[in-house]
């Protein structure tokens, strides 16, 4: 998305900050062109994300002790947190789709958090990645609604509790908001990740530019980093809970 374009945020005597440089997709094994099957830094960090998720869950659930160890309770907390969320938001018949939602949450959470390591690449900061995740949710939820309810799934847009004269207008608004879902769903995650990591980079650049007074931006970047940890977890949570909301609409289209 931002490949090949450098944005100079601040220039002080030949010192330049490139906050967007960290989002450039580069081939990992030399060469300049990125083809369909080129191994890039995105490939590497996605593989590391999958490895990290597998490690946490596999090692956590290996012992199966009655009194959980530290690694087991991490896996248990993550599992029961998502399970409770699916049950609360999507309803009891939404629990069938829990594995997919758990996979989404773990992938996004670990991708966001691994991106906070210095020199790491945040895969979820690219709209190409989040758009695939959001479109997968959108298409599967729409197909699920039509499979479960047939044509009466369209009653989702025909709000029967509203006055009759108002219903066509509401139907139009509902249809527009339905098709905007994958857009806002994907851009929310990518935008938050990209903006947050660029802010950390800009503050870090100030520290290099200010010399002895660089201690102030270093204090600031510590605080921003803490905020980014919070935002990473919250955005993974928000993406997952919106998936549950869309799933609830597909399971129970009659308001």
């Amino acid at each position: 998305m931002i490949e090949g374009k450098r944005i100079v945020a601040e220039e002080t005597g030949g010192f330049a900050i490139y906050p967007m440089e960290q989002f450039i997709v580069r081939p990992l094994l030399g060469g300049d062109t990125v083809g369909l099957f080129t191994i890039t830094n995105v490939t590497l960090w996605m593989a590391l994300t999958v490895l990290a998720v597998s490690a946490v869950l596999v090692f956590g659930s290996r012992g199966r002790a009655l009194v959980p160890t530290r690694s087991q309770s991490i896996a248990e907390v993550l599992y029961s947190f998502i399970y409770k969320m699916v049950e609360d938001v999507a309803g009891h018949d939404g629990v069938k789709y829990f594995p997919y939602i758990m996979t989404l949450f773990m992938f996004i959470l670990f991708s966001n958090l691994l991106g906070l390591i210095p020199w790491a690449f945040t895969t979820t900061s690219h709209i190409a990645v989040t758009a695939v995740l959001a479109l997968a949710v959108f298409i599967s939820v729409t197909v699920l609604g039509f499979v479960l309810h047939g044509a009466s799934f369209l009653r989702l847009f025909w709000i029967s509790s509203a006055p009759l004269a108002l219903r066509p207008v509401l139907a139009l608004i509902e249809i527009i908001s339905y098709f905007v879902r994958p857009l806002s769903h994907s851009i929310r995650l990518a935008g938050n990740m990209m903006a947050g990591h660029a802010v950390v980079k800009v503050f870090a650049g100030f520290a290099g530019a200010l010399g002895i007074f660089g201690i102030l931006p270093i204090v600031a970047v510590t605080a921003v980093y803490g905020l980014e940890l919070l935002v990473s977890v919250i955005q993974a949570y928000v993406f997952t809970i919106l998936t549950c909301v869309y799933l609830r609409d597909a399971l129970h289209p009659h308001h």
């Binding site: 806002s184 851009i187 929310r188 935008g191 919250i234 809970i241 919106l242 909301v245």
Partner: protein, 78 residues
């Protein structure tokens, strides 16, 4: 200074699109503030509604993100 007037207009437009951030800030603050005032009146009901809080914040934030999208389109697509 290089570049043409179209690029200048695109950059000014991208800057103007940042005003949408203020709208999103008002919306998110409204949701969170109303949640807090409701939670202080009835603290026992608050934990059950945190999911609704985050859904509300996410929807309020989505409109601000559309202004970010407009800025991105002006910077990189126009």
């Amino acid at each position: 200074m290089t570049g043409d007037i179209v690029q200048m207009g695109a950059y000014i437009g991208a800057g103007l699109a940042c005003m949408g951030m203020g709208g999103a800030a008002i919306g998110v603050g409204n949701v969170a503030g109303n949640f807090l005032s409701g939670a202080l009146r009835n603290p026992s009901a608050a934990p059950g509604q945190t999911a609704m809080l985050f859904i509300g914040i996410a929807f309020a934030e989505a409109l601000g993100i559309f202004s970010f999208l407009v800025a991105l389109l002006l910077m990189f697509a126009v």
